[in-house]
């Protein structure tokens, strides 16, 4: 029994890391630009396709592919901020509706380019690590490792650079931040770009585990959405806590009860949090 608990815990942490990668971009877009980005899951899908193109079509090493994916996603995010979201800065609802349109364009654009069939992705590592009775496939360990490194990098950037300070200032108060010299013209495109890059990295990391198709974005979007609401819209520490909780909760309920029970439970939780504590479990976001 204790073995099963430990195994569920490990699986939960791996899931939680993925959810956190997805959730940060989503919550950042809301915190900084007041955009509820329903297209966020499509960037996960685009990241997975980028990795597929890099590794299987161009034959690049996985590490190089990941770096290229990040660079491409930041540029794409900046472009999308300029073309799609900028006109709706003052209008949350219109920005959100525009993101619904953007999601349709991206998903069906990918469908036109790559076809509907799921594509296999070569595994990046084979074999398993054994710790006593516990089994962790090396591919999952690799995903977890890279994910944690990227999250740490993001944390350092956010907490210890001028740019990160600017982003945090914007989340707290946009007017005062810009009064103190935070330049919106740079922060908005770059903020969205970095959030999108994290989603794309999540897609590129998960591609070897789950395969690639134009429709893979909807589940990660849903998870990001759940995590961000539980953690409080716009709150990054809240997202971190909620992502780990959600990953572990899902892992445990699907081990001990059933996967669909986990889904229903999380949605009931989401609705309860929105109703009774819209600022999230940590209460650091805003409502």
């Amino acid at each position: 029994m204790s073995f099963l608990i430990a195994q569920s815990l490990i699986n939960g942490v791996i899931l939680g890391t993925l959810y956190l990668l997805m959730a940060i971009g989503f919550t950042l877009a809301f915190g900084v630009m007041r955009i509820v980005n329903f297209a966020h899951g499509e960037f996960y899908m685009i990241g997975a396709f980028m990795a597929l193109i890099g590794v299987t079509w161009l034959g690049l090493p996985y590490g190089v592919t990941l770096a290229l994916t990040v660079a491409f996603a930041i540029l794409l995010g900046a472009l999308i901020e300029r073309v799609v979201f900028r006109p709706f800065r003052a209008d949350e609802l219109s920005g959100m509706i525009a993101s619904l349109g953007l999601a349709m364009i991206l998903q069906h654009g990918a469908l036109i380019m790559f076809g509907p069939d799921p594509q296999a992705f070569p595994s990046m590592a084979s074999g398993v690590y054994r710790l006593g009775d516990l089994i962790v496939p090396k591919s999952r360990a690799l995903t977890l490792g890279i994910g944690v490194v990227i999250l740490l990098g993001f944390y350092v950037m956010l907490m210890h650079t001028r740019f990160g300070r600017g982003l945090r200032a914007l989340v707290q108060d946009q007017e005062i931040a810009s009064l103190y010299g935070v330049r919106l013209e740079i922060m908005y495109p770059l903020g969205l770009g970095i959030g999108i890059a994290l989603a794309a990295v999540a897609g590129a990391l998960m591609a070897p585990l789950f395969g690639v198709s134009p429709f893979i974005g909807s589940t990660p979007l849903l998870k990001a959405f759940i995590v961000v609401i539980l953690g409080g819209l716009g709150s990054i520490p809240g997202a971190a806590l909620a992502a780990m909780l959600l990953g572990i909760l899902e892992s445990f309920t699907s081990s001990f009860v059933s996967a669909s029970a986990a889904d229903i439970l999380t949605f009931v939780l989401v609705i309860a949090v929105l109703l009774f504590r819209p600022s999230g479990i940590l209460g650091r976001g805003e409502a």
């Binding site: 509706i97 349109g101 364009i105 669909s260 989401v270 409502a287």
Partner: protein
């Protein structure tokens, strides 16, 4: 409002109104001119899409966007289909029951839900839509699970079974007219004035003594009831429903129709449905592009025509006046 005041000034019906009405009637008659079953089918789908979007519009008139609209269409569809297939209730009773059940659910959840505004309301309704789908999948004994309910009988009005598409079309058209007339009356009355006061400035409305929470809840109940009403007709026309029919995508399609048609004008949902529902059929050669086109149209309309296509005549008029 402006049309009416112009009419009163001149003592005649304005010419634009006549042109518009004639155009609509001609448009509605197209399937009879061509006689094609396929055109009848499209016309029915236009009516159903417009009707459901009218429900969503009612909620938008108090300033809220409900992404649970697809689920409310589903509640109506399941209510009517289950009543008719399991309990042998006649369709003419199942149809109002569908609207009442949807409206009642909206009434119960509306009070706590509508404390949330703007994107928070959108997010919670999005979660509710997903919850509806999951719950329907979880209890196959009632809902048929992922297999859905198949073989729903055709619409039966006091023993008259609507076999042919043209008969269903007449019925749907009549129901659409009923819904539009009802909403037209609502908008003209004191409730409609409360709606627009709440939409325009909630704090001001509140401080002027308008019960804003109750007003929003009323709109939510009416809109969701209309959704359920539409769902019942839809279920019995198509003959098959499953939880996936009422997934997030359905709500999004209504959002697109509403935004492209016009969020605040009475004609909005109708214009949007007439414009967008037949579009895929004309894009048969480029079917894979239709969703991309929908997405592009949505963003362009939001950007350049935020009041929707229905506001286009007024815009052109004011543009001309500015030019003179």
């Amino acid at each position: 409002m402006t049309l009416k005041s112009i009419a009163q000034l001149n003592g005649t019906v304005p010419i634009q109104f006549i042109v518009l009405a004639t155009g609509l009637v001609m448009l509605a008659l197209i399937p009879w001119f061509t006689g094609s079953i396929f055109h009848f089918h499209i016309a029915i789908m236009v009516c159903l899409a417009a009707m459901a979007t009218f429900g969503m519009a009612t909620i938008a008139w108090v300033g809220q966007l409900s992404l649970a609209h697809g689920a409310f269409v589903g509640v109506g569809a399941y209510t009517c289909a289950l009543l008719v297939t399991r309990l042998d209730v006649p369709f003419v009773l199942g149809l109002p029951a569908a609207a009442i059940v949807s409206g009642a659910i909206a009434y119960v959840i509306g009070t706590p839900l509508l404390r949330l505004r703007g994107v928070y309301f959108v997010l919670i309704t999005f979660a509710l839509n997903e919850l509806f789908r999951l719950v329907m999948l979880e209890f196959p004994a009632i809902s048929g699970g992922s297999n859905g309910i198949a073989g729903i009988p055709k619409i039966n009005l006091f023993g008259l079974v609507l076999q042919h598409q043209s008969e269903v079309y007449i019925f749907t058209l009549a129901m659409l007219a009923l819904v539009v007339t009802f909403l037209w009356a609502v908008r003209r009355g004191p409730l409609g004035r409360r709606f627009s006061a709440v939409e325009e400035n909630l704090e001001l409305a509140e401080s002027s003594g308008i019960p804003t929470a109750r007003t929003q809840n009323t709109a939510f109940v009416i809109g969701s009831g209309i959704a359920g009403f539409t769902g019942a007709i839809m279920a019995h026309y198509i003959g098959f429903i499953s939880p996936e029919t009422f997934a997030f995508g359905l709500s999004v399609s209504y959002v697109i129709i509403l935004v492209v048609g016009g969020r605040l004008l009475l004609a909005g949902p109708l214009v949007g449905a007439i414009f967008l529902t037949p579009l895929p059929e004309f894009l048969r050669g480029a079917q894979e592009y239709q969703h991309v086109i929908f997405g592009v149209v949505l963003i362009l309309v939001l950007r350049f025509l935020p009041d929707g296509l229905a506001a286009l005549p007024a815009r052109v008029r004011s543009f001309r006046r500015a030019g003179q």
